[in-house]
């Protein structure tokens, strides 16, 4: 679906990405994981065209992503970020339907699509008239997801979509998201720093470090045959509460 070919990106003195090659397969969920600053968000921002690569190229299907074509390609991708990025001056409805209005959809078509989306994301339909400040964090992210899905894009890009939520809401939304991904069968690229979340969603996990790809595979691959000691340390750094308890009682 998306092919990243020998892409590098430098911010000032920092080499954010160093000749990355990566193929995002259609219909699967690809997870990009790593520490802060490893370049995982940068890859997402390059795909959606918020940034331009210093060298190398990115293809969406067979089209090379350039500033000239990026506006039309963006309408085939949905993008969700950690803070939601909702427009505060518009209601949930206004946020979700903005692009459809802009593209001249009629009200009937918009209403129909909204019904599908509120059902899919279990969003209460009376919440559509609320403004972002009147919604909880979890609901804001559902609105943000509906906005991304409105035009029925081929690809969904999510940049730590659950990062700002508290654990209970986060767990609920994880389950909902996974169900949605499976129901839609879309190509998904999800960025996270949480290895458990990566394992929960990811068909393929790509671990990055300092702008380079360290290892690609399933969670099992990463645990059982780590490419180097950093992979093991990264996985072990996030221990589960049960594991902590077991150690304490020994």
């Amino acid at each position: 679906m998306i092919r990243i070919q020998d892409v590098s990106k430098i911010f000032g003195q920092t080499r954010a990405l160093q000749s990355i090659d990566l193929t995002i397969p259609a219909g699967l969920t690809t997870v990009l994981i790593g520490q802060s600053g490893c370049g995982k968000s940068t890859i997402l921002r390059l795909i959606i065209g918020l940034l331009q690569a210093d060298s190398g190229s990115i293809y969406f299907e067979e089209t090379k992503i350039t500033p000239e074509v990026v506006i039309s390609l963006r309408r085939r991708m949905g993008y969700v970020i950690q803070e939601g990025g909702l427009f505060p001056h518009l209601t949930a409805y206004g946020n979700i339907a903005m692009m459809a209005h802009y593209l001249g959809w009629n009200n009937e078509r918009i209403r129909k699509r909204l019904n599908e989306l509120t059902e899919l994301t279990s969003f209460p339909s009376d919440g559509l008239d609320r403004f972002p400040v009147q919604l909880s964090g979890g609901q804001q992210q559902r609105v943000s997801l509906m906005r991304a899905l409105m035009l029925d894009p081929d690809v969904l890009l999510l940049d730590e979509p659950l990062g700002a939520l508290d654990p209970m809401i986060r767990a609920d939304l994880q389950v909902d998201l996974k169900r949605i991904f499976q129901a839609l069968g879309k190509t998904v690229v999800l960025v996270t720093h949480d290895i458990a979340e990566a394992g929960f969603f990811g068909n393929v996990i790509t671990l990055l470090r300092d702008g380079k790809i360290l290892q690609k595979g399933t969670l099992e691959d990463l645990v059982q045959s780590p490419a180097d000691s950093f992979v093991t340390r990264f996985i072990n750094a996030q221990r589960s509460p049960l594991e902590v308890m077991r150690k304490d009682f020994k």
Partner: protein, 505 residues
């Protein structure tokens, strides 16, 4: 979105209507514009001319208290006014300074070359003189200007015009060899108060000034014959003889008809008894020339309404234009940082020019009256709106900006649908600031003949009438408050509801 378009439409109509059809008069009578300087005698003579023009069946417009000699003279040359009262001494010593014209005949010929004509003398000689408080002069035994040589410590306060005219202080000092160093320029009307308080001991004065008796002033004898004769005359454009010969004929009716005693009496009625100048002028014409004219006594209410209309006219056009220009300038500044530096720099520098100076700069470019005042006010209203638009756009949080971009909206649509609505509050705050500055500064417009509340303040200063000053100052302040309040009410209309809500607890 529709509301924005509606409001823009409103502003544009505002400008077009007001600029191109200013208080249109549809009639066959000629409009004759009369100017007067900013002192009472000139205003009275202007009113007399106004009545005369009316009696000739034409439509007079009196631009009162326009300023000093230069402003009136240039306005006459450009045809912005047709008629104004002047003094022969001022013509020879200031307007035609350096040409060595002295006699009336020489003056006439020099004026003719410039397309200007002059009536014969009206009768009185309002020469410049040096005046002191009677008691002070008595104590120091000063009778003549040359006596001042013996008192080098005296402080002088002269009108700004007298400080640098051809027969003014520098030449007077040389002529009499005066030693005084402490000499300052100040508004003529304020000089009397300085004299009264003792902060200055001598001032320049007009010999027909009504305040001579009121303040018990002694006029010092011009023993070395420094000052030329200042015979009052009326100047008019020579093309008036072709356009309206009958107007010129009636103007000549007052030649030799105003003796010095009559002028002093009229000045005194205006300054001491607060009789309106137009009443004084009508009485004079009726008694002296048996010419009955209708004296339009303006009530305080109708005068207030007229000045309100003039003031709103200045403010509405200049502010509407400023809003239409500033918002795009602010957008360009935010989107194109390099041009932005230049735009913000220029607009900022304009704001540092003192408003009085800005108004005066406009005179050579645009003459007198509404257009130069509106232009100056427009320039003055730019900065707050440009700066607030720029800052608002600049401070939109990156994740909001990027979300709009990632949706696939082109730049124009991002600006219209997301960025501008988000900065509406900031832009409105800028407009509010501009409106308040604009309304306050517009009071200075009266100095260049644009009318408004400033006219009342100006007349109040001239007549030393606090009540009149307040009649101009209070409505100006009230108007500023009302306009500010209206813009606050507009927030409900312009600022999207989502931005006015407080976050849920």
């Amino acid at each position: 979105m529709k509301t924005y378009l509606f409001v823009i439409h409103m502003f544009v109509c505002n400008i077009i209507i007001a600029y191109f059809f200013p208080l249109a008069v549809y009639s066959s009578t000629l409009e004759i514009k009369i100017g007067s300087k900013k002192f009472t005698e000139s205003v009275i003579l202007g009113e007399i001319a106004t009545h005369l023009v009316k009696s000739a069946g034409e439509q007079p417009i009196h631009l009162r208290e326009l300023g000093g000699t230069r402003v009136l003279w240039n306005a006459l040359l450009k045809g912005e006014i047709d008629i104004y009262p002047e003094y022969t001494g001022t013509i020879s010593e200031e307007i035609l300074a350096g040409e060595g014209v002295r006699s009336d005949e020489e003056i006439r010929q020099a004026l003719m070359k410039r397309g200007i004509k002059m009536t014969n003398a009206l009768g009185f000689n309002n020469t410049y003189a040096i005046g002191m408080k009677g008691e002070v002069a008595e104590k120091l035994k000063i009778q003549k200007i040359s006596d001042l040589r013996l008192h080098p410590d005296l402080k002088f306060g002269f009108g700004n015009e007298f400080m640098d005219r051809g027969d003014g202080w520098p030449i007077l000092r040389r002529h009499y060899n005066l030693p005084q160093q402490n000499v300052r320029g100040l508004d003529h009307d304020l000089a009397y108060r300085g004299l009264e308080k003792g902060t200055i001991q001598a001032i320049d004065i007009y010999s027909t000034d009504a305040k001579i008796r009121y303040y018990n002033l002694r006029l010092l004898e011009d023993d070395l014959n420094h000052f030329p004769a200042y015979n009052a005359v009326i100047l008019y454009r020579s093309d008036l003889e072709e356009r309206a010969p009958h107007v010129v004929t009636v103007l000549k009716k007052i030649e030799s008809k105003i003796p010095e005693s009559e002028m002093v009496k009229m000045n005194s009625r205006a300054n001491m008894e607060m009789v309106p100048e137009n009443r004084i002028a009508a009485d004079f014409l009726s008694e002296g020339l048996s010419l009955e004219t209708e004296s339009y006594e303006e009530t305080a209410i109708s005068r207030l309404l007229r000045h309100t209309r003039e003031h709103l006219y200045l403010v509405a056009i200049s502010l509407s234009a400023a809003i239409l220009i500033s918002i795009p300038l602010g957008i360009v500044s935010a989107k194109r940082p390099k041009s932005g530096q230049i735009i913000l720099g220029i607009v900022g520098v304009i704001q540092t020019i003192p408003s009085l100076a800005l108004l005066v700069f406009m005179i050579p470019l645009l003459g007198i009256g509404g257009p130069p005042a509106i232009t100056a006010l427009f320039l003055y209203s730019l900065l707050p709106i440009v700066r607030n638009t720029y800052t608002g756009l600049h401070d939109i949080r990156p994740h909001i900006r990027e979300s709009a971009e990632a949706l696939g909206l082109p730049p124009g649509a991002r600006l219209r649908l997301v960025e501008l609505p988000m900065v509406s509050r900031s832009i409105l705050a800028g407009i509010k600031t501009s409106a308040v500055i604009n309304i306050g500064t517009a009071t200075l417009g009266a100095l260049i003949g644009a009318g408004g509340y400033g006219q009342l303040i100006l007349t109040g200063i001239r007549l030393d009438n606090i009540s009149l000053i307040l009649q101009g100052a209070v409505p100006a302040a009230a108007l500023a408050l009302i306009v500010q309040g209206s813009f606050e009410a507009l927030e409900r209309f312009f600022v999207p509801k989502g931005l006015r809500l407080k976050p849920a607890a």
